[in-house]
Amino acid sequence: MTERKTDIGPPHYEKFLPPVIKKNYGKWKYHEILKPGVMVHVAESGDKLYTVRAASPRLLGITRIRDFADLADKYCGGHLRFTSRNNVEFLLTEDSRIDELIKDLKALGHPVGGIGNAISNVVHTQGWVHCHSAATDASGVVKSVMDELCHHFTERDVPAKLRIALACCLNMCGAVHCSDIAILGIHRRPPRIEKNLNKLCEIPNVVASCPTAAIRPTIVDGVETVEIDEEKCMFCANCFSVCPALPMADALNDGVSIWVGGKVSNARTEPTFSKLAIPFLPNNPPRWPEVTGAVKNIVEVWVKGARKYERMGEFINRIGWPKFFELTGIEFSKEHIDDYRFAGLSFKRSAQLRH
């Protein structure tokens, strides 16, 4: 019997770098975007590296991954990489076969684009495909939204980068909270207390898990359980994370909220959180028309009104939030006003207003 291997870590990345990268590692001089989804990096040595970026649905079967491997063999000496936003990138040393590769990718159903002033791929989570805490599906919403916006991925026809992300609950595995547009699954019904709670969960842990102290220990019919002050519930689902006997998912009340204006880049303005644009839209599978319509509307308002280089949040800051709600036709409601800790910091504390 061979010895069981553990703690070897991932394979060393150097093994997977194409020769042109090994040769010019750390010695790149500049890059240029040649056309949508295609860029060239030029090294100090004069060597060139062409990148072709294609969209992927993130959820990939091994059949398709093998197709990508075949394309890498055919065009790139067997080298490829993926991006932090789930795109796949093919790395070529000459430009003569780029169009042929793009044609092959299109034949497989993968549009090329997402570089520069464009909408990149959508960072997203598992949703109903594989998650226990999902308030909406992830892949289906993303597919529906991007079917509508695909032309902004394959063309560079928008003012700046636009990053959309989706998380299927407030746990935010997709960390959507700093996106130009965030699509966030939300619950709106307090957790239901299952009868076997005392067998599945540590009651002190459950009580401690609630950020608003809405959960208290109690005894019902001689059995230890908890009671919930529903008025204090803000649907964070932290209690469900520590206790499976407090399910939050509810077909009648779950849905989607839309957040706008966040970014992580330091370019021009500092990184910032996304802010609430639409508190609730219904889950309406398979196409989520309310969500796709809302996202498309916000994108169109931005495309029409933003100056060059202006990200969603920078655009909104320039025109002001009242104007954003006016232009998008989104109704401003009580839910838009923060009422958790330090809420007052988000109130408008000046008379600098547009009239």
């Binding site: 991954i65 890498a72 789930n86 700093c178 964070c236 990184p271 398979p286």
Partner: protein, 404 residues
């Protein structure tokens, strides 16, 4: 006549220009019964508008506490092939570079032991092998390690570190993000595989302030490349941009956060007041042929970002304004060890580093990890006059001091 589909709602999502995840599952369903069940279960969720997956259970591979996420459906009799449908997180090669051979190896292992479905990649960066049964976990792990792969993090451990493409293909990388990411991953294998922290801890290595790995929003420790000398200017290339239609005033100056760029059209000279430059990257992004980050490069270390659970979302804040980032990275590792030591001892269950910093106060936290407070750490000094002074003099204290 064609057989009637049992997934009409999902079939709708095979139409349209964006690549379809449904097509991906259907491709694998040709060979894998569990993917047939997965399609039926998802169709049912679409009809009922609710998910059908249960909380994880404790499953894993021997000697590891992380890397496997237990998953069961709540209708096992109707969907028996995915009654268990666990996830393995496989630590990706740093920078997400692959050879076709390495990719095929992972595919072959997953064809043999699992559903054939993956995420390339998960939110933290791992290769996600989506769906297998408990009995296949150990054999999958054995074959992965035999082929040079290992599991990533999950639960209350150091999560799989990730980094941007860095010097492999970016002229803006201010340090070697791939080397540091890989070094941290290898140095802290025990912390990665055996959860012993109050909650998760994420590293993300971004080569420049564009932060392509979203480290400032998504990592407990965000290591963002920067420089402290002058932006390198190629005046001839600047002129070419201007001749090509770039308006320095409108496109650069008006977007510069400190208005530190000036353009003399008579002499065609671009001047940057580097002392006032905050390294935002905008001008470099717009003129990549003409401008480059300076030569004295390193990184800003920021701490504490997280998604909302438990106490609300946080962005990382500055801990070290500038640090040289060079192997063996001892300075950064010492800092990490001090942070982990304090957090492990005093952190509450499921309390992230960003939250304990706020609970105990950044000032106190800094004392504990032996870092001096400096103005770069705050957007502005406090506005709130309620200060927790820790000591006060009592009458006679001065006399005692004199006697000593």
């Amino acid at each position: 006549m064609a057989e009637k589909s049992n997934t009409p709602m999902l079939d709708e999502l095979e139409k349209g220009p964006w690549p379809s995840f449904v097509t991906q599952i259907k491709n694998e369903a040709k060979n894998k019964d569990e993917c047939k069940d997965l399609l039926r279960l998802l169709e049912r969720s679409y009809g009922e508008k609710i998910g059908h997956w249960k909380h994880g259970g404790i499953v894993g591979v021997m000697g590891y506490g992380g890397g496997v996420i237990g998953r069961y459906n709540d209708l096992p009799e109707e969907f028996p092939k995915i009654a268990h449908f666990h996830t393995l997180r496989v630590n990706m090669p740093t920078g997400w570079f692959y050879t076709s051979e390495a990719l095929r190896t992972v595919c072959d292992i997953w064809e043999k032991h699992g559903s054939g479905m993956t995420n390339m990649h998960g939110s933290t960066g791992d290769i996600i092998l989506l769906g297998t049964v408990t009995d296949e976990l150990e054999p999958t792990f054995a074959e992965l390690t035999e082929n040079g792969f290992d599991l990533g993090g999950s639960g209350s451990d150091m999560r799989t570190p990730s980094g941007c493409v860095g010097p492999a293909r970016c002229e803006w990388a201010c340090y070697d993000t791939l080397h540091l990411t890989n070094d941290l991953t290898q140095t802290f294998q025990d912390e990665l595989h055996r959860p012993a922290f109050p909650y998760k801890f994420k590293f993300k290595c971004a080569g420049c302030p564009n932060d392509c790995v979203a480290s400032i929003a998504r990592a407990d420790m965000s290591i963002i490349g920067t420089w402290r000398d002058e932006i390198q200017i190629d005046q001839a290339e600047v002129k070419k941009y201007v001749d090509g239609g770039l308006d320095i005033h409108r496109d650069i100056y008006a977007n510069c956060p400190t208005r530190c760029v000036t353009w003399d059209s008579k002499t065609s000279t671009l001047t940057i007041d580097d002392e006032n430059c905050v390294k935002c990257m905008h001008c470099i992004n717009v003129m990549p042929k003409a401008l480059r980050p300076g030569k004295d490069r390193g990184a800003t270390i920021l701490l504490g970002a997280k998604a909302p659970i438990v106490e609300g979302a946080l962005l990382s804040s500055v801990l070290v304004p500038f640090m040289k980032i060079e192997p063996p990275y001892q300075e950064i590792k010492d800092l990490v060890e001090r942070i982990w030591e304090f957090w492990s001892e005093h952190g509450k269950n499921r309390e992230r580093v960003g939250e304990i910093m706020q609970r105990v106060g950044l000032g106190n936290f800094l004392e504990e990890i032996e870092v001096d407070p400096i103005p770069e750490m705050v957007a502005h000094p406090r506005e709130n006059p309620y200060v927790f002074y820790e000591e006060y003099y009592e009458e006679g204290d001065e006399d005692e001091e004199e006697e000593e």
